[in-house]
Symmetry: D2
Subunit: 472 residues, 4 copies
């Protein structure tokens, strides 16, 4: 095999050697090459990543919220190793204890909080769980078209792309016959609907959607029989890629009223915002709404396994209506994934995240607001729990400044921060409608000292970026 | 949390307690409840599974070929643990060594064997890799419709279901606008096309497909400009779920000629038959054909992680035509998965599977042929490497006997086999067009003694099943 | 043949006999049975219909604007008869003079008015011309999704239904993979967007559409390459079924700017509003916009033949890009249809409709405004040329009153109007988002006396309806 | 208007002037420009067309069978004129006698012949009737995919194109999400399936279709619940464009058995082969099958109006299941069309076509067989009633010779035939899978002398063509 020499030199391959191989053999079609400078990391622990030179990077995005409980969390790693030593593999056609317990924990918790019975169905990767949710909706409603939010993101399989707003993700792959109808998400900082947005939100932006159901001519309803063309509304309660936007408190409650009236299901995609990112297991818990389906993934295993899944109301997923063989994948409830998931749920039970995450989030947000006062380029900071956002603008504090945002991120990734002895880096993620928003998803166990360090590093990046760009 | 009591009793939950929870909280929509009696397993090692009572089951399907290298393979498990201890998590936007080395190994090996350059793109779950292959095809050809085989299986996301033949997988989910055109697979045991099937295969079954390209009236080609309506042909070289059928030697070579003539891509889905199941890394290597895209998954990590991926020819996937952001998933090249995959590739290099798998397969097949002579109900045994098939029929040796097949499987799963002291079980998988085929995928490291044991247990199941059913 | 007796009694069949046959042998799936009482008509002349009893009905809808030039117009009828006597039939593969002259007249007129060269393609039925326009758009842009207006109507073939807003037309026919994205039409009487709608229209309702192109997250554009997901915007300049709504003067001009910027074609569907209904050959002529495609039908032949067609800009339809065989139908340019169409165009040339239609329309509207002052239930009257609307409301002059509207129409159709000797009827058509709008399409040759008569009959119907309903 | 001068010169425009206008203002996208030399015709009568020079052309295709009863048939023309003088226009929302009587005649006749009750729904243009049939099928079955024949033609709206086999008609218009599954039509002359095609037809070609229903793996059926993925099979009993192929006698009977077993509807498209073309009102009458839906058009009005329609079984189209508003078009049952249709049905009743058409067809076929014996290039002649086919081949009598076929047609269209004084032309139509088949559709009133003349002219064309081409 040509790779023989590669194999032998595994442990000592330099970054240069690796990058040379990468440029020849790796597809550029994923997100690695969005960056001009490529980072290779060798070790992870807590909220830190380490590169080949041993430089320590503070990671404020934690794998897009897939590692909420800290990199290399010992308790979780140990649980995974224990499973490796007992039942690392099992055909998903047969049962193992961890699958059952994990499903039970999730469903019992939802029943307790929301008062509805339901069941859990596992799969791997958030997008495949989204596909399963689509299947449940199609099976129950007989409808293919879905509502979804502008700015929403639900994954990159073809069916998930069809309900993800960006046309950029679709344009190379031909016609999408199941393209969603996309509805504006309530984005208060850039609201154009409300008359008086500062003082309060009157949910003006919801009215055009509610109006759609008033006349058959508005295209979505046959009023004669109250039959809606759309089967479900796929919702990220806080948008992830869209920029960690916190919606008005009553928005979903009012939206759900309209949907219920016309038998449109409400699907909460909690893949990014679930698992205590916002201070609750599911972010939808904040909004006084009972979802029909919940989709989860990412931090369910703290990133140790791509396990994902859905919970659905009993009437949508009971054995009578969703019988054996409706969906499935080889790794759907793989033992390593369910063991990691069960360990995460146990960790949650033994932690005090309901209290700690809001407290840490409030501290972080307070620090960011102090920063905002110093720099007009910080248009907005906001957050819920430890889902935080910083919107970078021109000096007017409003016009999005993508160049400045990019520069800040690149400075962080270069790893040359820190005035004193130790060189550090900062890993940030950019999201938002205008690619000018830092979406912060720090470790849920971040300490106040680590928050202070994070904000300090961010300010250093910002200052350096302001020095090299011409902020208008 | 209501589950508190559950958590505390984790280690000692009985099968009864677990099954009670399962019936309340687990979706039945996967494949668990195809069975009437549910098996719970607690431990796995080599080719054996162990249930709560410690009964040992010989597993002849190895997670549908996802654990080719044996359950709990120490070398692979250790590699995974090593990764857990160093870099268990990393945003896939950044690079790590194992991803690059694994991609390089796969691409270099293909370049060596097939003489074509290409790149690797990772994802998780076979179906998502299939979706990525579809994206590459659509992007390159601008076509949405695909050819695929009757009897083929490519996964259960919506787009993968559209190219998977069984309508049963589609019927509950509304219209599939991208449903493939399904072509008969060359199934010699039940061939109706050839005039003289015993002596030789004249590829008669391929002629109707070749004829499609003769006139515009045959619906797939515009002969004026040699423009075909279809972008690619998705091929499992040996069908998996379809019944581990070995195709005629020249079939794919001739098929590829027709496809090449009309610029239709050839996509080899190696998710089940790759990773030495048939005695070569990719099963398509047997058939003297250079595929345009190869899809892999399952045993890539020996089942330790749902890592999957595609390899595509440079012209289909070069950075120019498949630039950053074309597809992606959070876990696409997750460190634990790539580390496991790299360990598998290293293990392969250090093994002698090119020789060993054919040898073991031949021994197994020989034993099965002996059995076939004794029982008229064994209509056919066949195989390539350690992908083996046993077709269970009525006494005429031809009419499929699904009831007998089911009975054999259930007897094996009851775990009461073995005349002597030790009670054993046998795990078999049923596939095939008439659900009468045992698709055997034993561990690639199975010994001759273990083969003898397997065949003995199978014969015991068969005898017991014949006693309780009325084989016609 | 069972029908023999029917044949013999053709001339003297009574209404009762006919209705008995109708209830047995005619599909109810068209629009006849929307009515509770069925009218049978025997003769038509000018703006009058006559039933079996010889009662004269003033027809104010003129076959939904398909007989703009009066029923049984002698000049047009004679032209048709002349063609019957010479070349009544001809395979459309061969040429005849009338086809060529009609196409030339239309294209030359457009070139003169709009300054752009183009070609005409004939078909039969408005919906088939819409299909041809869709084909031209798809061929030129490579896009399947289209924009269209809420309240818009483009026909009832499946592809035309996909761009027609009412879901009621789709709900029984499964998934529409090419469903348009529907945009609110500027409906000033019920505007909710403008701050100050009485004094002026600030085109507030256009802003949400314009905003869609601002960020990729708004779902329709990939800003990187200014690639829009949608190929064209299908526009009825005044909505037909939607209620003969007259748009703000600058609306289309501003809309077109946005479309041009992103290479989205502008298709004017003039099937109902063309042929001088609004006082110009094409209604789009009022709005200072050059369409890329014009669709026409209905009054092209004054209802004597279903001939329809499209005109498209040369770059969209030149022989190079739209070569032989792209579309076609047996009757596409049938000799009787083209002869009737040519006669209509000649009649137009010899008339003074540019002046007369606005004059007659103004007189009609003035009369209606007098009526409006008397009856608070007339919420709005408006019009352009002889496309007029009367919106029937509750006493508040705003809340739609569908029951009252229906009652007025039914009273007119009963044929018992007229205080004096001669009994008369009135044929009205109901449209509008709330089914409370009379859409008036009188003969373009209506006289002032006939307008007076029409308004008088309408008032009589309204008074009688108010007497029997409880107008709130 | 720029066209003023054109108008004035209407009557005396020369061919050259017309062709100049045509090349500027007419779309080439229809079928006119398939020809290199363009024919302009001025008059039609009986089976003759006359060009500008007065040359008489024998027309053996009669507008693709749209003028079965002869051009300018006096009785039919008079009926049309009578309607012009009474009720030429009427909104299709209201009733008129001719619509009802025509529907009744058709439905009563079908009830008498087939023993099933049903209803008629009118539209304009064959394709729109096909769309209505699709709507009826979708509404009844809930299925979108359809079966249709390779070589079949059902029209050129997008939905009709999806069930028409030629990809050439689809390739420029993007993805067809409702593309039919196309099945080989029984084409005996080029049969490759039957073992012994000369002596008899064993329906071998039907077996692959029947086999599709044997296992879920064959992609169309879920055998558990006998649920087929396809809603209907759209059938031209004799293919039109496909080459006027006469199917084996029992083919449709056997096909229908399979369809009935799995609840797939049988739709007979009689647009081209109906109206006595084959010697019966509907060509399906020959084959001992009761269709679920019949589609008709073309000669229903003898080409005087594009009226078309469907008949469907009561259970598919009763008011309960197909209520008002399901489908519709402005001209759906236009008075001129229904009057012409009624006149055609009356003419049929007064004729003896059941006897005459077969007699004339037999005479014509006999003459063609004589010709076939003389010329090896006539590979096959066949026919049913007056639907006749001549397949032009190379000297081997089998290999299609498209060039020779084209040459024959062009010689006929040049109009220089006839050895004696009077110059004549011959209008032929080419169809067939290899574009080498003359599809003859002469007037149903053709006399034996006219047949003799036709055959003589055809032979002259053939001889001249053989002289200028190199027949191999």
């Amino acid at each position: 095999m040509a790779g023989k020499s590669v194999e032998n030199s595994t442990d000592q391959m330099s970054d240069e050697q690796l990058l040379a191989l990468e440029s020849k053999y790796c597809s550029y079609g994923d997100t690695v090459h969005y960056a001009k400078h490529l980072n290779i990391f060798r070790r992870a622990e807590g909220m830190y990543l380490y590169d080949t030179q041993g430089v320590e990077y503070v990671d404020l995005q934690m794998w897009y919220s897939a590692a909420n409980f800290g990199f290399a969390n010992k308790r979780l790693n140990d649980a995974l190793k224990k499973q490796i030593d007992t039942l690392p593999q099992l055909t998903c056609q047969y049962l193992h204890q961890e699958k059952i317990l994990l499903a039970a924990k999730i469903a019992q918790d939802i029943e307790k909080k929301f008062g509805v019975k339901g069941r859990v169905h596992f799969n791997v990767g958030g997008a495949q769980a989204v596909e399963d949710a689509i299947k449940v909706v199609r099976n129950h409603t007989g409808k293919i078209p879905m509502f979804a939010f502008m700015g929403g993101y639900h994954g990159r399989t073809l069916a998930a792309t069809a309900i993800t707003s960006s046309y950029r993700y679709r344009e190379h792959f031909g016609h999408f016959s199941d393209r969603a109808h996309f509805v504006p998400y309530p984005y208060r900082f850039r609201c154009t609907a409300a008359k008086n947005k500062e003082s309060c939100c009157d949910l003006s932006c919801l009215k055009p959607f509610q109006k759609l159901f008033e006349s058959e001519y508005y295209s979505v309803l046959s009023p004669k029989n109250n039959n809606c063309e759309y089967g479900a509304f796929f919702v990220e309660p806080l948008q992830g890629t869209g920029g960690y936007i916190v919606p008005p408190q009553n928005y979903f409650k009012e939206l759900k009223k309209t949907l219920d009236k016309h038998h449109v299901l409400f699907v909460a995609d909690e893949v990014q915002m679930g698992m205590y990112r916002t201070g609750k297991l599911w972010s939808i818990e904040h909004f006084d709404v009972v979802p029909d389906i919940i989709i989860f993934g990412k931090s369910l295993t703290n990133g140790l396994n791509p396990l994902s899944g859905i919970w659905a109301k009993e009437e949508l997923i009971s054995p009578e209506v969703f019988p054996p063989g409706m969906t499935h994948s080889t790794f759907s409830s793989n033992p390593l994934g369910t063991a990691a998931g069960l360990a995460v749920m146990n960790l949650i039970e033994d932690s005090n995240l309901d209290v700690e995450v809001p407290r840490r989030g409030a501290y972080f947000l307070k620090k960011l607001k102090v920063l905002q006062k110093k720099y007009p380029q910080i248009g907005e900071v906001d957050g819920l729990g430890l889902a935080l956002r910083i919107e970078i603008c021109q000096k007017d504090g409003f016009t999005p400044d993508r160049e400045l945002t990019d520069t800040i991120m690149h400075i962080g990734l270069k790893g040359g921060l820190g005035s004193g002895g130790k060189k550090r880096g900062l890993v940030l993620d950019i999201g938002g409608y205008y690619k000018n928003t830092f979406t912060l998803a720090p470790s849920l166990f971040i300490t106040e000292e680590e928050i202070d360090l994070s904000v300090m590093l961010f300010e250093e990046c910002l200052q350096k970026a302001l020095a090299v760009t011409k902020s208008k």
